[in-house]
């Protein structure tokens, strides 16, 4: 998952695309900073705090849980990983481009 995400973020850096990480690791913000540094993760991340309010609201019961949203904010795909995730993102980027 991680290596592909890194490559994908790099490939799409000039496109209207964002990867948002909501991290559920225990250990709070310090632990997150440590992981981000160790793993050289550059994209936007939030430590979903220890009580995980967003994960709870979104009823996340397994990790990773992935939602892919189009440019209008509509959920279009769920739980695709790696190549399948990138393919879906490319499709939505294409769609956004045409919709302009």
């Amino acid at each position: 998952m991680l290596p592909h995400e890194k490559a994908m973020v790099e490939r799409l850096k000039d496109k209207p695309f964002a990867l948002l990480g909501l991290n559920s690791d225990k250990g709070g913000r310090d632990r997150l900073q440590q992981i981000l540094k160790e793993q050289a993760i550059t994209w936007r991340q939030s430590q979903d705090e220890t009580t995980q309010p967003i994960a709870k609201e979104w009823n996340v019961t397994g990790w990773p849980t992935i939602y892919i949203l189009d440019a209008k904010g509509v959920i279009r795909y769920k739980n695709l990983r790696n190549e399948a995730m990138e393919e879906a993102v490319m499709k939505l980027l294409d769609e956004a481009e045409k919709g302009k």
């Binding site: 998952m1 995400e5 496109k15 209207p16 695309f17 964002a18 990867l19 948002l20 990480g21 909501l22 991290n23 559920s24 690791d25 913000r29 997150l32 900073q33 992981i35 981000l36 793993q39 936007r44 991340q45 939030s46 430590q47 979903d48 967003i54 994960a55 709870k56 609201e57 979104w58 009823n59 996340v60 019961t61 990790w63 990773p64 849980t65 992935i66 939602y67 892919i68 949203l69 189009d70 440019a71 209008k72 904010g73 509509v74 959920i75 279009r76 795909y77 769920k78 739980n79 995730m85 993102v89 939505l92 980027l93 956004a96």
Partner: protein, 245 residues
């Protein structure tokens, strides 16, 4: 005639000692011992694994023992508990485990339907039943419709509903049933964990389906900047709930 007579006497004496012991060890005692033995075996297995020389997972060896106990305990709670053990542990025991799982589920609903253990059985089926041809659905429906134990009923409803929700291939009719089950849990079982969790699943059904606009959230990023999901309109977004563990 001396020889055989003496042997018979010795046999009788041994029997007299052994028999009461066998009687004393009812299914409840046997269950206790078996559970303790299993825990010790798992501990041993884990220690060996850390050293890199573990053999087979002990659940494989214990499967037959719990099956035997389930058979002997058809009329007791120990039998229900033996079935529960098999349902919870079958996944560690490979192909044998899968076979035993089907048998234990059947035995549990056939012989122990009124037992309060059915709550745990229904709960275990959520993660354990994927190898069953019907994912445990017929067993869950039996518990749901026929158990008079409130918690067992709720657990069966919850497992059935979440199995439908978690399966991306569920159709509209199944999703309607899942919604009805969850609504009933939220309404009829107030204060229970089933009600709380049902509400989470209802939120997901209402707001997090493909085709819905994602609900907004506000979060703080690694640089302490606050952002909203809705800040990203105009961009394709992947929201990734993840853990490095």
């Amino acid at each position: 005639m001396h020889g055989p007579f003496r042997i018979a006497v010795v046999g009788l004496a041994l029997g007299a000692i052994a028999l009461p012991r066998a009687w004393a060890a009812g299914p409840e005692d046997e269950l206790k011992k078996l559970t303790a033995d299993y825990q010790a075996a798992v501990q041993e297995y884990n220690t060996a694994r850390q050293k890199g020389n573990a053999g087979r997972h002990p659940s494989i060896e214990f499967l037959a023992k719990f099956q035997d106990l389930a058979k002997k305990g058809r009329k007791s709670e120990a039998g229900a508990e033996a079935d529960l053990w098999i349902i919870q542990n079958a996944r560690f025991a490979g192909a044998e485990g899968q076979k035993a799982l089907a048998g234990a589920v059947e035995d549990a609903v056939e012989n122990h339907l009124p037992s309060p253990k059915m709550e745990a059985v229904a709960g275990a089926l959520r993660y354990g039943a994927y190898s069953l041809p019907d994912r445990g659905e017929s067993a869950l429906r039996k518990i749901m419709n026929r158990s008079s134990v409130k918690e067992a009923k709720a657990a069966a409803m919850f497992t059935l509903a979440t199995m439908i929700c978690d399966d991306d291939s569920s159709d509209a009719k199944e999703k309607t049933e899942a919604r009805e089950l969850l609504e009933s849990l939220a309404k009829d079982y107030p204060g229970t964990r089933y009600a709380t969790q049902a509400k989470g699943y209802l939120f997901e059904l209402d707001n997090l389906q493909i085709g819905k606009t994602a609900p907004d959230f506000t979060a703080k990023d690694q640089d302490d900047k606050t952002f909203k999901l809705s800040d990203y309109r105009g961009k394709v977004v992947v929201v990734d709930f993840w853990g490095f563990w």
